[in-house]
């Protein structure tokens, strides 16, 4: 068969139902094969939108996302999504067209060194040299993307290869000698960890996106409830544990709760599960959790001991490790009463330092109030994608997630422009779910063109723009640390998002009444089609509490 038909067969064999992309000269043959294939292709308006859509699809469904781009500019446009998927461990296969082999390295039309440009940003990448390599390379790409610590894989296919006539047989015997993730977890180490938990009097469980990737939320809950342990989540780990919950301390880190950060600071044992001690979590590293010993459970051995020393390292998949840890812990019959004074201390923090903001006395909408209203309007059960900045932090603080894969955030790379395409990808993968995008007036403009894609494809996402007229997070830093010298953060009054929405084939509404906000949001959510909701909020509100830059976690402000 044609090599391009073999590509489509590979996708089908991998269970791919939706792909996101945009054709160009170098992948016209592939698009010809897609023309009558039984795979939905979502034609994005910019490849970056396609890459983030594939991420959103993967994050919401747990399946591997697929993004197609042509050579040269098509491929360079997906560099940001590739790095984004790398930082947040999102399984996505990017298939790029490349100029034909005899033009390679000659600065041919729309040629770019895709392998070279993406190399530091991928879990793996390969440029094919022979058409017969195509089936195996694609199956390996899916295998590498979804196993171990998930991540992006790039397959670069020169155009002449795709025009060859090759046989296709599904490849099932994948054996990569240099790639054998450790997923089991060492039994002795797990026992040690259980003992450490049983001996700890001030333990904290600290969980990240790894728990969600592993599909280990139920297993995590078992452990937490078995021991009555306090638990905090990273930004990327929101939804790994049902929130709110009596054992949940909220998010930790720069804009986490005081309780979570204080608990980490005073803990005698921190059990990190699928989390990587990012600088936004630790604050000043030398003063991070000074009294704690660390159990670090991660499928990626390179994360263990990278930023903090792991006293008990466990390399393994959380889904395998956690049930055994719970079992070992139960067998030790630890006295629950030992945690009583710890919980008293935690409850005192929770009482003294709840997340709070000064609400307005007039009709002005505080950003936090906007998120709370949306939380209620969606009954706390929507898939929520966010962009990056203040709105992202407020969403993380005030929207709670009862289940995993409901929260789609560009957490590691912090990519403005992620939110809308990610929501689009999630909705394409989970058409039965309510999908909302919470974004800012700055972020939305970075991939706003995808509104047209959503409208054309009937992907009914609801977009809520927290509009404060600023690049708010940078403005906040300039206010707090740079003497209010607001350099290049004022976005002015444009565009008119209601008009933009209408031009893009969506419904646009502006909600400025605080009193009716929740009801108006419900109405917007029930409006068929793509809806853009512009919500003017307090212009100069700050995200608090905050670990000041370079400060220790216990020195939170605000």
């Amino acid at each position: 068969m044609r090599a391009v038909d073999a590509i489509v067969e590979c996708l089908k064999a991998e269970g791919v139902e939706v792909v996101f992309g945009l054709p160009g000269g170098a992948n016209i043959p592939t698009y010809d094969a897609l023309y009558d294939a039984d795979i939905r292709h979502v034609l994005v308006r910019h490849e970056a939108g396609g890459g983030h859509a594939a991420e959103g699809y993967a994050k919401a469904t747990g399946k591997v996302g697929v993004c197609l781009a042509t050579s040269g500019p098509g491929a360079t446009n997906i560099v940001t999504p590739i790095q984004d998927a790398m930082m947040d461990s999102v399984p996505v296969v990017f298939i790029t067209g490349q100029v034909r082999t005899d033009l390679l390295g000659t600065d041919g039309f729309q040629e770019a060194d895709v392998m070279g440009i993406t190399m530091p940003a991928v879990k793996h990448s390969v440029m094919l040299r022979h058409p017969l390599e195509i089936p195996r390379a694609l199956h390996e790409a899916f295998y590498i993307a979804r196993t171990g610590r998930p991540g992006p894989v790039v397959v670069d296919i020169p155009m002449d290869l795709t025009r060859a006539d090759i046989p296709y047989e599904p490849v099932e015997d994948i054996h990569l000698p240099g790639y054998q993730p450790t997923t089991e977890g060492n039994a002795k180490q797990i026992r040690q960890a259980a003992k450490a938990l049983a001996a700890a009097v001030r333990p904290v469980l600290y969980t990240g996106g790894g728990v969600i990737s592993a599909g280990a939320s139920d297993e995590l809950r078992e452990l937490v409830e078995a021991g009555g342990f306090p638990l905090t989540c990273t930004l990327n780990g929101l939804g790994s544990f049902p929130a709110p919950h009596p054992l949940w301390l909220g998010m930790l880190g720069m804009h986490g709760t005081r309780t979570a950060n204080y608990a980490m600071d005073e803990a005698d044992l921190i059990v990190a599960i699928g989390a990587r001690f990012d600088d936004r979590v630790t604050g000043k590293l030398s003063e991070f959790a000074p009294r704690a010993k660390f159990v670090h459970i991660d499928v990626d051995p390179a994360e263990i001991g990278k930023n903090v020393p792991a006293h008990i390292p466990i390399v393994g998949d959380a889904r395998n490790v956690l049930p055994r840890l719970t079992e070992e812990y139960r067998a030790l019959g630890a006295e629950q009463a030992r945690l009583e004074s710890w919980w008293q201390r935690i409850h005192a923090w929770q009482e003294r330092h709840p997340l709070r903001y000064d609400d307005t006395t007039d009709d002005e909408i505080r950003p936090q109030f906007m998120i709370e209203s949306l939380y209620r309007a969606t009954d706390g059960d929507a898939i929520v994608s966010v962009d990056v900045g203040q709105h992202q932090m407020w969403a993380a603080q005030y929207y709670h997630f009862r289940r995993p894969r409901k929260w789609l955030s560009s957490s590691g790379l912090g990519t403005m422009g992620f939110g809308l395409p990610a929501a689009m990808g999630a909705k394409a993968g989970m058409p039965g779910e309510q999908v909302v995008c919470i974004t800012g007036d700055g972020s939305i403009q970075m991939n706003i063109q995808e509104l047209a894609t959503c409208a054309q494809e009937g992907i009914d996402v609801k977009v809520f723009i927290m509009n404060n007229g600023y690049l708010g997070m940078v403005r906040q830093w300039q206010e707090l640390f740079w003497d209010r010298r607001y350099s290049a953060v004022d976005l002015g009054r444009w565009p008119d998002f209601v008009k933009v929405a209408e031009g893009m084939g969506a419904t646009g509404v502006r909600l400025s009444s605080k009193v009716t906000l929740e009801a108006d949001m419900r109405e917007a959510l029930e409006t068929p089609g793509v809806v853009v909701v512009d919500v003017p909020v307090t212009a100069e509100e700050n995200v608090y509490p905050m670990i000041v830059p370079g400060g220790a976690a216990r020195e939170m402000e605000g």
Partner: protein
């Protein structure tokens, strides 16, 4: 050290201290990789990203044609080396990495020395070559080229002895290394 987002000025000393990865301890990493395009770039890129300066690097075939052996030497504190070897392990095309213990390793390097030697000093040079078990591989009226193998120390000693005779140029391969005893490297 201050955060990049704050207006606090950073002293140059602070900036330099934060990048202080080189401690003078030498490491020989022996890396078995799949013989595929781009593997060397991936490995070199990992070191470059972490600010390592690779001292020597050799790549060659092994007894199995599917694999190549990369031997590289560099300076570094143990911890950063540990992090970089873990990152190397994550490369799909990398099969095995050994941070070779100098005492349990045989390491060799080959060097070629071209010397501007005429009749008068030639005998003396040949005598030194003999002591070092060097081999003359080319000779002309105004030059002599010597091949020598050995440890890095030996080649440096040879260099010091010969340099005064008029060194035109010198080329070194970088070390290859194999573990002592029956066990595979």
């Amino acid at each position: 050290m201050g955060e990049p987002g704050t207006p606090e000025l950073l002293s140059l000393e602070e900036l330099e201290a934060s990048g202080g990865l080189r401690t003078g301890r030498k490491h020989i990493l022996s890396i078995l990789v799949e013989n595929k395009p781009g593997v060397l770039t991936r490995i070199a890129g990992l070191f470059a990203r972490r600010g390592f300066n690779i001292d020597t690097l050799t790549v060659g075939p092994t007894d199995d044609e599917r694999y190549s052996r990369i031997t590289l030497t560099l300076d570094g504190a143990l911890h950063p080396i540990d992090q970089v070897t873990k990152q190397l392990h994550k490369l799909v095309n990398v099969l095995k990495i050994r941070d070779l213990e100098p005492a349990e390793t045989v390491a060799r390097e080959l060097a070629l020395f071209k010397l501007a030697v005429d009749g008068a000093s030639r005998a003396e040079v040949l005598q030194i070559c003999e002591i070092f078990r060097g081999k003359v591989v080319d000779v002309s009226r105004r030059s002599i080229t010597v091949e020598i193998t050995g440890t890095t120390d030996k080649i440096e000693a040879f260099d010091r002895m010969l340099r005064p005779f008029g060194l035109v140029e010198m080329m070194r391969t970088g070390e290859i290394a194999i573990s002592r005893g029956r066990a595979e490297t």
